[in-house]
Symmetry: C2
Subunit: 219 residues, 2 copies
Amino acid sequence: MTDTPTRSKMETPAIYDDLHRKLVTAQFGHGEKLKSEELRQTYGCSANTIREVLFRLSTAGLVAFEEQRGFRARRTSKERQHDLTQFRILLEQEGASLSMKHGDIEWEARLSAAHHKISHIESEVRRAGTVVHVLALWSNAEWEFHDTLISACQSPLLRETYKTIYDQFRQQLVSRDTNYGYYIENIEEHRAILEAALARDEPSCRKHIRDHLARNMLN
Amino acid sequence: MTDTPTRSKMETPAIYDDLHRKLVTAQFGHGEKLKSEELRQTYGCSANTIREVLFRLSTAGLVAFEEQRGFRARRTSKERQHDLTQFRILLEQEGASLSMKHGDIEWEARLSAAHHKISHIESEVRRAGTVVHVLALWSNAEWEFHDTLISACQSPLLRETYKTIYDQFRQQLVSRDTNYGYYIENIEEHRAILEAALARDEPSCRKHIRDHLARNMLN
DNA sequence: ACCTGATTTAATTTTGAAATTATAGCAAAA
DNA sequence: TTTTGCTATAATTTCAAAATTAAATCAGGT
């Protein structure tokens, strides 16, 4: 763990959100032990509250739980990265296809807006040559774009599942934070997805989604 | 809740399994309140242990949780049934396709065996004109068949997600228990899926999976 | 030196009760 | 009769400590 936050008392949902944020931004090392006692002191609550939060995070796939042996930040592996990528491709392709089928002009507008934002941030990254100073902004905007893409699919299950996969995916990608070349390539890919989606060109959209997501496994 | 089980003390995993079983076999009514106090007495443990188990079941999608308002057996609805069905079709089609791609002779053998079992039980149902006396057997065999079908997909994520969806799907299907016509139609459909899978005929397998699962929404 | 087993230490898990919050019942006013 | 507010009841949620279990330390033997 990197920084110790406020020592003030927090409600259970706030603790969940804070730990969730720390996990997907990899402020815990892969496989790092998450001790009840430490977290209890950090958040100023009882061990039981921490336990409950960690349980929820474990079913969200960000934390590994072993009986009588506590909680750890989820470990990464080549196999798991591959699995997450392939599954994310499946869900995003299906979600985008359904959105293209059901989405109205409102959906198109929201998608354009989301693309405008992420595109603007990525242009800044290209100019600055680094992403660190806008990483949190970029991270939110990237999520917004992909979530908006599938937001008209009319399947709550698909959308919820996609979010859990997306979060686990993010958790693996920390080492990429300073490699701004990664973000630069996103600019073209996001535009390709946007244009295919607006044109309701399903095969093209599927292809660009696959290309965009699969590139994450190349190193 | 229908029957009160043993009053003896149970370990947390045993409580989870028992409640899971009761939920997917709909021994709780849809939307029925799950009171900590009652369950605590039933299983001879503290309210906190019950809380922990219900939390796990809520992230498995079988129980609905509302802050400050406790737990309920998940409600059903036409929309949710449709969503579950469509999502299950997506996952099972993808899982079967991948299994056909990666599966070896061992997978074929396991699939044949699983089909033999479910087929045998469904023949019995046809002869007897009712399913109630073998419902538990049938339920396990049906799961075995579908799980084996996707078992060679080489994606733990896909397989785990499929299980959670399958369980939620089961939870909705209780009223069907005495309608044995439903089970009779399964015989042909399971065979069609088996044969397409063994022939590695992906389009045909996808079609039969869709037909088999979609039929559940017709009433 | 290395393995084995007992003891100490540190962690997780369960408990029972206190604190908090929602729900139901009831009375008074519109 | 309906609504509003208060009270009593019942439920959920949090807590601190006890009980349980795993991990680490150390001593004795091979």
